[in-house]
Amino acid sequence: MVKLKINQKKYEIDADPEMPLLWAIRDKIGLTGTKYGCGVAQCGACTVHVDGEAVRSCVVPISAAEGKEITTIEGLSSDLGDSLQQAWIAEDVPQCGYCQSGQIMSAAVLLAHNDKPTDEDIDDVMTGNICRCGTYNRIRRAIHSAADSVRKQKGEN
């Protein structure tokens, strides 16, 4: 049994400790917002947060995630998550939408560290996430606009 804490909820997973976190999240727990795209940490579709950092869950064994705080797209409901999701909707970013959970999870960590990212900062972080529909420019605009609202919230607090 491997004990995982995902989106504030505790799970006991009956699986090989080597099973990648992605498949525990999708096949064992049934949260399907986190996507399989490549299995080798190349596309970013499987991005989740482990202790606040963006990781590619397709290559992290569950044994390495034990005892850590794991957040998936379904659990991203903080102010930061709301800002990103609202910005994504305002820019109508998604096309097929398959990569967008991963895009948003990567963007969330970027904004958590840097609430005024430059285009270069965005390139540095978001280049790990592939979108075959080509929504990159809208993602960039959405990140800038989410950053604006994050800063506004901070200013108001």
Binding site: Y36, G37, L84, C96, T127, N129, I130, C131, C133, N137
Partner: protein
């Protein structure tokens, strides 16, 4: 194929009630028990019933018969119904249509999504659906109030009788509307009265695509579902000779191992176990003839073919005479490789085969074929087979396959193991698995007369036929010419008096398929780049030469003029920077692009900006048009910079996104889209921005460096300065 693909009226009604909790305009599809031979015999009310449900709770449910793969049809098609229905847009919900003849493509017959055709082929029918619904609701109100229909009007989901200040919502009228006779003399709105069509309406599917709730095929979960990964032959066209299951069975979670048409399916209680099991299988393969395939040898074969006469696709004037009397002669060879589609969601399909039913959930572009193949494998009557279309995590043509292979795999496996099964392709399966855009070898020659006007154009195309050997052959291949191989080459818009285009379609073990824009993904590269070569030889500006030669093609010209007018064409640029342009018509739309690039001393190409102008006729959703232009540009750029599938000893040499690369954020150019205001015939948008991109970039590289790229993807070595 039988006229009806099997949904009974009862199951329709049941599904309808489950969704909206009340009826609805009728939904009395005339299907109970009897076979309907052709959808064109149906009345407008029958058709409206198939596409539209109005709940007593005022909900508006629109059934969408085209697959949503990112191109926005789950929004643009409902917009057309809602416009004429005059409903409250905020109440609109969509549902994927089941498989039924009424949902067939208005041009192609079968229920399918492709050819950038969803919007223009539904433009009349779906507006009729909305207008029919509105007429029946008004008739219901008039009957309720005992007034004339002419004295009633509808707006935003409410019918009004202004004279007596009465009003009823569509929901309140739904039951009565169901009983109203089929309206005659439906008139559609004058476009100047449109309130929804033509506006940048937000996509209905965006919220669910930002919170993890959107359900793609790979996300389908049903009780007792197992996952299968299929071990397929390492050489395309190969077969299983023998196999041993011992090692695979030893993997925890593996439940069953069965041989199916495409290989050996390892079935487990989760993907990871199934994938480990598939890798652990010991298989002896019979590679077959494909083991000899080698990219370099194939190139020699294609080059040789190009020197011999092929099937004639176009013969205008006398190209040999014109060429021999030309003052300046040019010849070039252009080559493009096999390309995988690599949609972000790997192929997958869920099948639940039981004794008396079969359910299939998948993201497909070709419902009719999937339904038929599931019925055939299970032996069940058509009405017992149900295909549920999920969202598609990208299509690009890869999910419109003539042999239904990914559905066959799931249905065969579920039938064999007597349990619901989800077959998932790994990314490696996707990259190795064939069904590529064919490789093409183009040999082209042109001649200029003494006044530097192009007078001769001879183009030979060598590449596998997509349609040959498939059910599409009959209407796509004529006199040995597959129309998809020559589109964009045999219909060059330029006023050149002598044109000859011929085609060789060599056979291969590599299965090939339409790849976003199909012939447009290669022929316009040759046409638009070689025209630039002629312009350079003639000492003419490539833009001016095109304008001279585009007489009689006003839509090409307008798109080109608009793109160029936004691009600073002719203005000075720094050293090793350049602009290039291209224009191309496909799928009924006209797209011009100007690319601005720079090339470093090391030969690295950076695309700074792409200006795109599109004339697609009347626009349903301008924001979607813009998104699709950008999308096609990115898809094409991935191929220009990175895309390549090669073979050695019959084995594909690429495996995943580390060696079959896609464009990433740091390579993304600025993109500006301009829509040509147009009342001409409506065209498509999903594929049409792909064709001009590669030639615009290649022409820009020539402007920046004086070097001609004639082979894709770009090899930086050739561009060192």
């Amino acid at each position: 194929m039988r006229g009806i693909n099997g949904i009974s009226r009862r199951s329709f009604l049941k599904a309808g009630a489950a969704v909206v909790g009340g009826l609805v305009i009728g939904f009395n599809l005339p299907l109970n028990g009897k076979r309907v031979e052709a959808a064109d015999k149906w009345s407008s009310a029958d058709i409206a019933n198939a596409f539209l449900r109005i709940g007593e709770d005022d909900s508006i449910t629109i059934l969408v018969n085209h697959s949503e793969m990112g191109q926005g049809v789950y929004t643009s098609l409902p917009m057309m119904v809602a416009e004429e229905l005059d409903c409250d847009w905020s109440k609109v919900k969509i549902e994927a249509a089941p498989v039924n003849v009424v949902y067939g493509h208005t041009n192609f017959g079968a229920q399918m999504t492709g050819g950038s055709s969803s919007t223009w082929t539904e433009w009349d029918r779906l507006r009729q659906v909305g207008a029919t619904g509105k007429a029946m609701l008004i008739a219901a109100a008039a009957k309720t109030w005992e007034v004339t229909t002419e004295s009633c009007r509808a707006e935003n989901g409410v019918v009004f009788h202004d004279a007596t200040k009465r009003q009823l919502t569509y929901g309140k009228l739904a039951k009565q509307a169901e009983k109203m006779p089929t309206p005659t003399n439906i008139t559609l709105k004058d476009p100047k009265d449109f309130k929804i069509i033509g506006k940048p309406i937000k996509r209905l599917d965006t919220p669910s695509k930002t919170n993890g709730q959107a359900v793609f095929g790979i996300d389908v979960q049903i009780d007792g579902l197992l996952t299968a990964v299929v071990r397929r032959p390492p050489v395309l066209g190969g077969k299983v000779k023998s196999f041993s299951t011992d090692k695979a069975k030893a993997i925890s979670g593996v439940k069953a191992i069965v041989q199916i048409h495409s290989g050996i399916a390892v079935v487990a209680d989760n993907f990871w176990s199934a994938n480990r099991g598939a890798k652990a299988l010991d298989v002896v393969w019979n590679d077959g003839a494909g083991a000899n395939l080698d990219t370099e040898k194939q190139r020699e074969q294609y080059a040789k073919l190009a020197d011999s006469p092929g099937a004639v696709a176009k013969n205008k004037g006398n190209v040999e005479t014109a060429m021999s009397s030309a003052t300046t002669k040019l010849e070039a060879v252009y080559e493009v490789p096999y390309l995988a589609h690599a949609p972000m969601e790997p192929l997958n399909c869920v099948a639940d085969v039981r004794k008396d039913s079969c359910h299939v959930w998948t993201g497909t572009q070709f419902q009719t074929a999937e339904h038929a193949v599931a019925a055939k494998i299970t032996g069940l009557p058509a009405e017992k087979v149900h295909v549920h279309t999920t969202l598609l995590g990208g299509g690009f043509g890869r999910r419109a396959v003539p042999d239904s292979h990914f559905v066959r795999e799931a249905v065969e496996t579920s039938k064999a193991v007597k349990a619901p099964v989800k077959v998932v392709w790994t990314r490696e399966d996707d990259i190795h698995g064939g069904w590529y855009r064919p490789r093409y070898y183009h040999k082209i020659a042109g001649g200029l007369d003494a006044n530097n006007n192009p007078v001769a154009w001879k183009h030979t195309i060598v590449g596998q036929s997509i349609a040959s050997g498939t059910p599409f052959e009959g209407f796509m291949v004529h006199n040995g010419v597959d129309s998809t191989s020559v589109e964009g080459a045999e219909n060059v818009p330029y006023a050149i008096p002598n044109v000859y285009v011929d085609l060789h379609s060599p056979k291969s073990n590599v299965p090939v398929l339409w790849w976003r824009s199909v012939g447009g993904s290669h022929n316009p590269i040759v046409v638009e780049c070689f025209l630039d070569e002629l312009a350079a030889a003639a000492g003419k500006d490539p833009y001016k030469l095109r304008l001279e030669l585009l007489k009689g093609h006003p839509r090409h010209k307008r798109a080109l003029e608009l793109a160029v007018s936004k691009s600073n064409w002719g203005a000075p640029l720094p050293e090793r920077h350049g602009r290039g342009l291209a224009v191309h018509a496909s799928f009924g739309s006209f797209v011009a692009q100007v690319a601005e690039v720079s090339v470093s001393k090391e030969g690295k190409v950076k695309i700074h900006k792409v200006i795109c102008a599109v004339d697609c006729g009347p626009v349903v959703n301008p924001d979607t048009v813009e998104a699709q232009m950008e999308s096609g540009i990115v898809y094409a750029l991935s191929a220009v910079l990175h895309g390549k599938i090669t073979f050695k000893n019959g084995r594909v040499q690429q495996s995943n996104f580390y060696d079959y690369k896609a464009l990433r954020m740091d390579e993304m150019p600025q993109v500006e889209t301009h829509i040509v205001p147009s009342t001409d015939k409506m065209g498509g948008i999903g594929e049409v921005s792909v064709p001009p991109l590669a030639p615009a970039v290649i022409n820009a590289i020539f402007a920046a460096t004086g070097k001609r790229i004639r082979q894709l993807p770009i090899n930086s070595e050739e561009l060192r300065g």
